[in-house]
């Protein structure tokens, strides 16, 4: 069982979370070329090692998170809120 330290709920089993996939994908503008969209939707680097991926805490706060996880050892290196605005607020709270 992987344990994910949700910034809102604390450390929980991964079975509480839904897996989103590669979190490093940047989607192109809506009027971008078919090639650019094919690349974003279908093509993956498929890293063996540490990759950034999205997880949703579906059985908890329902927030989307960005998790840095090793795809070979399953070790988790960092967890943060996926929404940059939410992440900034959480970080500020933690510092104060």
């Amino acid at each position: 069982m992987i344990r994910i330290n949700c910034p809102f709920c604390g450390e929980r089993d991964h079975s509480e979370f839904g897996y989103g996939g590669d979190g490093s994908i940047e989607y192109p503008p809506l009027d971008a070329s078919a090639e650019a969209w094919t690349q974003a939707v279908f093509e993956r680097e498929n890293i063996r090692g540490v990759q950034t991926e999205s997880w949703q805490h579906v059985s908890g706060c329902r927030q989307w998170l960005l998790v840095e996880r090793d795809t070979m050892t399953h070790e988790i290196h960092s967890v943060r809120a996926a929404h940059s605005g939410v992440a900034a607020v959480v970080e500020k709270e933690q510092q104060s």
């Binding site: 069982m1 992987i2 089993d13 991964h14 079975s15 897996y19 996939g21 590669d22 078919a34 090639e35 094919t38 690349q39 939707v41 279908f42 093509e43 993956r44 680097e45 498929n46 063996r48 990759q51 991926e53 795809t71 070979m72 050892t73 399953h74």
Partner: protein, 422 residues
């Protein structure tokens, strides 16, 4: 190499089994081969065999980083079927089933192929209608298919959970009688032995660490046993395709690596004569009984990307729940072993057997859950592609550019999310 026959088995029985040779050689790598297949799994070995047998190629090597049958070839639930719906898949898997039907004779090696029926349980009138449509389509191209009503199913598989108050009461089944199981290790050994007899060098403990490219061609592969020159190279390493692809100088593929678990119980007396599949709502479960008596079963992926060949516990629980909900008699059966393999999950659930941007490099990848049953046809068509340098009509859509062209082969209609193509 001794040919297996009733006479050779009898004669060696009298001689204390002392007359058997090695089943395949353990050669040193040559400096160069006409064709190098990377990956000594079922697909790689089958490719080498058909290259030698169908296309008369003499100078072939298969390089394998571990040992034969140590990867997904030995980590599956051994189910063979051809009940596919989409054009391309249907013809391909039916050809594969036809190759399975003659495989033991062809290889002179008993792969213990047992056409014991594949029974998909149906739980609603809509599911029965859907299966009838799918199975009628299969029959149009010569694949056998039947829909069973509840009484027929009960007569054939008497001990499923038929109670009316089950969460998903059983209403019937979609059945392919020519489907069944085979002994997975024997398939690897059989292909290796037959390929070796045709002169193929099988190089085990030979891990690829890099490639050499000159003038837009791949000229050699670097391995843990030295540099091996190659006129043509085929990749057949499902699970680690992306890593090898990057070693060849490319970047992305429409593939993610996920792991799938399989389970075997302690041996039981004969209990289940068929392959039974339970898939409704969130459940996904398939079970058969091996010739040794163990119940062999599996379920869903582990739901997150991974290269680790070990499974997680939530799926063990999920699969166990499915098992006792459909076969309550298994409630007290103990698990003997469980293991996990790394799958190439592609973006539409269909494989790739295709050319690549390099003119002498060929790709065989993206087998999702379905690699075992596909292995004979995969080798057959991959050998055809490598020998003739053009895709056969049947595999013409098993290409990397099908997503850009909008001709995805999405058997399950699950969309571009690799973990959903179970």
């Amino acid at each position: 190499m001794t040919r297996f026959s009733a006479w050779s088995v009898f004669r060696n029985g009298l001689k204390g089994q002392s007359g058997w040779d090695r089943q395949w050689r353990d050669p040193q790598p040559k400096a160069e081969y006409d064709v190098v297949i990377v990956g000594g799994g079922l697909h790689g070995l089958a490719t080498a065999y058909y290259l030698a047998k169908n296309h008369g190629q003499k100078n072939i090597a298969v390089v394998e980083k571990g040992w034969l049958g140590g990867g997904n070839g030995g980590r599956n639930t051994t189910i063979v079927r051809s009940n596919y719906f989409m054009r391309g898949n249907r013809q391909f898997y039916e050809h594969s089933l036809k190759l399975w039907e003659d495989l033991s004779h062809d290889l002179n090696y008993n792969v213990m192929f047992s056409q014991r029926s594949h029974i998909s349980l149906l739980h609603s009138p809509a599911a029965i209608d859907g299966a009838a449509r799918r199975y009628n389509t299969m029959r149009l191209t010569g694949t056998d298919a039947e829909i069973w009503d509840l009484n027929t199913l009960k007569a054939n598989v008497p001990h499923l959970n038929y109670s009316a108050d089950a969460r998903f009461p059983i209403m019937g089944a979609a059945v392919q009688k020519r489907a069944g199981t085979a002994r997975h290790d024997a398939v690897a050994w059989g292909y290796a032995r037959a390929a070796d007899a045709l002169g193929v060098d099988i190089l085990q403990n030979c891990e690829v660490t890099g490639t050499t490219r000159e003038d837009g061609r791949i000229t050699a592969i670097e391995t843990s046993r030295g540099r091996i020159g190659a006129k043509k190279v085929g990749f057949a390493v499902a699970g680690n395709t992306s890593r090898l692809w990057q070693m060849a100088g490319f970047s992305t593929l429409p593939i993610e690596s996920h792991k799938l678990q399989a389970f075997v119980s302690e041996p039981l007396k004969p209990l289940l004569d068929q392959v039974v599949v339970f898939g409704v709502g969130g459940a996904h479960f398939y079970i058969s009984q091996s010739d040794k008596g163990g119940m062999v079963f599996g379920g869903d992926l582990d739901w997150y990307k991974s290269y680790a060949q070990r499974g997680n516990l939530p799926i063990v629980q999920d699969v166990a729940e499915c098992a006792v909900s459909i076969l309550p008699c298994l409630g007290r059966v103990r698990l003997l072993r469980h293991w996990s393999g790394v799958m190439d999950m592609s973006m539409d659930g269909a494989p790739f057997i295709c050319k690549t941007p390099l003119p002498n490099l060929y790709l065989n990848a993206g087998w999702n859950y379905g690699g075992f049953k596909a292995s004979p046809a995969s080798g057959w068509y991959f050998a055809d592609l490598i020998a003739n340098d053009r895709p056969h009509n049947v595999i013409s859509n098993f290409t990397l550019d099908r997503f850009e062209r909008g001709i995805n082969i999405d058997e399950r209609g699950a969309g571009p999310d690799p973990k959903l193509h179970g």
